[in-house]
Symmetry: D4
Subunit: 213 residues, 8 copies
């Protein structure tokens, strides 16, 4: 029987989530999603995922008193006790000592990252972290882009550098791994609320189930 074949997967014990620069102004600039509602939905789903699996989360903003705007209030509400690391100017979050130290303090080497734009706030820290020995998972659908071309370039550059591109629902499934584990209800609730098709299936199933009694 193969040994340790699971070793490369994300788990609630080996992962940390970085949510970078999902600020009210910057969110407006995202243009690679036809529907900004879809993007907002994905960001919140990813944030809830960390909560459901009790994964450490590091939030950060960039020059949030300027045009970039304040952090999305939905994220503040989800993590009322989280410290938001407010970077006064450094674009690459990993370069900001307070941020880097917060990451190091988690002791985790698998980093899930969603940030407002792939080609800046995701790309730069991803490259830095790869260079520093982290295993990085950019969540491409919880990160936007100023254009489809810019997104394409950033995805190829990060893949080339060794990052493992992923998507929010894939992260949920990778962390859950087995639906018999106790986080199942919380994970399923995220699917229910943020993956419309799955929500319809769950509600249908519940109707049938209750009908049977």
């Amino acid at each position: 029987m193969p040994k340790n074949f699971k070793s490369e997967f994300l788990s609630p014990e080996n992962s940390v989530l970085l949510l970078v620069d999902h600020q009210l102004g910057l969110m407006q600039g995202v243009r690679d999603f036809r529907s900004l509602e879809e993007y907002k939905n994905n960001v919140i789903a990813l944030a809830k995922t960390a909560k459901a699996f009790n994964i450490p989360v590091i939030l950060s903003t960039s020059v949030d008193t300027g045009p970039n705007g304040f952090l999305m209030p939905e994220l503040e509400e989800l993590f009322p006790d989280a410290q938001v690391i407010r970077r006064p100017g450094v674009i690459n979050a990993y370069e900001w000592p307070e941020f880097r130290e917060a990451l190091e303090k988690t002791g985790r080497k698998k980093v899930i990252i969603g940030a407002v734009t792939l080609e800046t706030c995701v790309l730069f820290p991803t490259l830095s972290m790869l260079q520093n020995g982290y295993d990085v998972y950019p969540v491409v659908d919880a990160s936007g882009s100023w254009s489809e071309m810019a997104a394409e370039a950033a995805m190829l550059r990060m893949t080339q550098a060794g990052a493992k591109l992923t998507s929010w629902a894939s992260v949920v499934a990778e962390l859950q791994a087995d639906w018999r584990k106790p986080t199942a209800a919380a994970a399923a609730q995220i699917f229910h609320d943020h993956l419309a098709s799955y929500g319809f299936l769950m509600d249908t199933h519940q109707n049938y189930a209750s009908d049977r009694k």
Copy 2:
């Protein structure tokens, strides 16, 4: 000065909303939206609109014990006291006496309609109502379609017949008409929650406003 130039517009006093067949199974078949989340978002936004403007709402389902599935629970929760007219087989809701009588009882002649698929549940009642003297407003983005071609055909056929195609946010604006009217806060809240860009603007504005004090 022109008289009655507003006469052709929707108002909270002259309108009724029909929500037809947004059932758990049928919702799955909608394929003209790339993101089913966007479609669900729009349906709920339209439903809330009726509530915000205190417009009568008529809900209906078709053979809901079969594959079509039960009504989306989100709609049931929004209208806990509403009677849902369950049609046992008639596809054109307007042909079902109980439904038609409910509509007639409202005494309103401007009908806003959203239904699960444009080419059936929207199209047939729209044509019937136009023929019976109603002014019909199909909400194309709170109605889905089995394909883009089917949607295109239905939109052209309904326009040809005299229906006025519209979209949910356009309905909100048409009903609100003046942001100084008392429904403004409720209408703005719908924009905040269902039109992501507008939500970001409102939250930004509130931050600036509170900052000024």
Copy 3:
């Protein structure tokens, strides 16, 4: 209560289906569908619809010994007893006496038409029939086109002339009208086999139903 409000709808008693030039060679030229499988699926679904509702069907081909090719064998198999009217050169099927007489003999005035390309085999007979007092329903998703632009032009021209654009599943629903009518099983079977989403719903429902016993 409104009188005759159903009068404008298709019914098994007032309709006839024309299937024109779905020939093996011409089918290859259809380019407005990304997936030719989808187009073929729709043509067969429309053909089965006529059979399920026992509507008269008129099949025709154009110069079928040349590059256009023979009729799709799937259509021949569905209608083994049908006479296929083979036009030796006339493009507008309605101009061909044998075809026109076959149509007139049905005594029906509501004509559902699917043909290999919207901009020729659908467009010309549709315009002729409208001029001769027929009510014409071009089925846009059971008809192809040499390009998306050509399809768009033909759809606008036919709508302008008074044709009622429709789609195959909309035709099924318009003919069925009430799921309690005896054709329901046959109609549902067409949905099951040609509208993948609906087939999945039906199979799911049957599983649940049999589970309950």
Copy 4:
């Protein structure tokens, strides 16, 4: 020879331009353009067109101290002497007496309108003006939309009501009519600066021309 065959066209003498609600916040919500730069480019090109042809322009904003934001500064700079009609809440600009009177004062019956979203700020005044005897030309590419579906619905509804949909470069050509008229240089400059292909052609031509000397 036909008389008055030009009578239906826009001219600098018979037209007025309305620019409605191109405000900094609302512009962010436009999602039917993949590139917001393209939308901004078109709005400015349309504004310059009015200036080049010396057509009266009426600017207006809606609740500009709130989330909608202030008027785009580029428009203010183009029309430093223009009065901006600030509507405190009325959505349909034509319903606002000050706006309507400004329009009436121009004495012109052909109205070119560009506004931030087709489905609200363009649609409502367009319908009102058509009802009041104006000939209305919505400029669809200098107006945005919250979604492609909403734009499609609004375009069909306005066409049905009698509005003549147009685009900014078509307006330039319709107003110029003859390149030998004195506005030619100004019109060509707008093409040069806002229609990239035409700019490249003009610069190429100038190179060749100067080369010949």
Copy 5:
């Protein structure tokens, strides 16, 4: 039997083709085709169609010594004896006396028109000709546009005004009407050379046919 049911169709005897402003510079600006090769292919196919059916053709250019550039040489070669009406500035070709007189001299009332951009060179003469009693057929795929939005607006405006939108291959079929007429070989050759799929079918058929002998 219905009389005159063909009366509304194009025929070689009742039609004239206008080819307007397909100039080397202006062709570069066409952006609603992803492939400019496809656009050029369509223009030439339409031109050959007139030749195959011996329909009068009127060619015109606008300010062809400036950035617009000279007429496509392919068109000059196809019609070596044609007089090209060079308009020194008037944009609407129908407004230019020489052009209008050339049209009137043909004595034909059904006008097929292809021009470099739908929203100017097609739109303006189409509106003028409709107003002067012509039956106008804009060929949308042998006419380009500066953007997809501009094309959409122009198509809706022309349809609203009564023009009959069409496409080049539809024109070929409408003119040919019956493949037993003597123009068949020439018409088929155009399909062979400009509709790739049809060319492949014809070559396949010829292979089979020669094989049989």
Copy 6:
């Protein structure tokens, strides 16, 4: 002459097919195909391919009594004797001992995999199998995705890890290798039934062939 240059290709002798989680509920969530009919068509084509080449097939489902739903009946019918490995919760099929043992028992190292969503049911086993020395061929068009972005991320991540992305018709051709081998008729039948264009060609060819006699 090169030796063993074929060694890297799939063959009926070195391959095994995994079909994972094509369940009635999960199929509904696939959104990267515009046409769900196309997806269903591809899944069945891939399944038939294994049968035509007599390749071992391992079927599996995940929590099939819940919202995910039962296995597509079409797959059960194709493999009536196959054991379906029903995983009670483990998402990564390869992690489930019964599944892994079934795979090992085949003794084959080249694994063709199609599963309901690329970003979960294909991705995780693919990564595990690559790590355990298998050569993995994810069939991207017989696997769906919750969104186009998620599909893109999964495809890049799997390519980076060494998987060889493929498509169902490419698998057929790779396995057939030479049309003179005895599986040719069965392979061609799959093309006929699931690749519409090829079916039309085959039927045309048969017509010509029989015509010659």
Copy 7:
């Protein structure tokens, strides 16, 4: 100064072109191009390129008496003296001894390949040739695909294996390298005839040039 920096580029001296299976039937199945005319244009452009640069060309077909059809006559006309290697069944052209020997006889190691479908006729020989030490350049726009997904999979798999994806106009430029070399006129003619934009530029330039005299 760097040495041999050109060593990795294609040149007329180090390259050979393979054109595989561009047969009349198979061409019909190409669906990843919206316009089949564009695909045909590209194939011919690539073929002419070999001729212009006097590069050896190897043509091959697969079972050309069956549904696949005969070689495009345009290719036969371009290379009247070429031997067409007719493979009676082997799909991977490189596996067919006669083909492989023809390639080896050229003595060239840089192989440019265009074939009717990327996922079969391009993919398999490309993988074989890479394994046998060739440097392979699949021309993706002179090769089609049965679907966009299949093309994407094949492009990623070939890139992963070391093939250098290219496009026909890029090949022309890589071979020409310097516009002062004697092949310039022939290369430019290919651009003129197959890259519409460049043709318009060349004709414009010639007009200006002759004007100057």
Copy 8:
């Protein structure tokens, strides 16, 4: 603390910008952008970036007296003192001694390159420079392409060879690195003028800020 983790990033001190062949004629051929305005906008934004960060810029043109046309005047105006290296025929700029020497003279090893088409003017020098030890950053949205397929092929080939694909706004952010550095105002101005969304945010912010005083 990690050392030198910034070492792989672009900085004003380690970078040089190459702008190759953005000539008036060649710009017309770019077809992978729907809006040529967007492409022109991006090219100018990238050029201004070099200026804002005081990075050396090397401009070059290819056969600029022929159809390719002269350099875009906007670039000449931005760099009035720059020497434009006019290549009389060599396509690969790096192969032209004067160009290569200019690059070497900068002493910089990180090369940002934008050129008129990805598949020629970007691709060839990128491959040469990678081979000569440069770190190359092709700016994909300030470079065009003759088709989307050609762009895709070039992007994969360059990534495979080790180039780091990027986009103009990503370059700005990578160079700026920290908004507290003195180039901030100039960098922000580029965002303001060329990234419409960011411009709207900045103008909004300034309005709020001035309002507070």
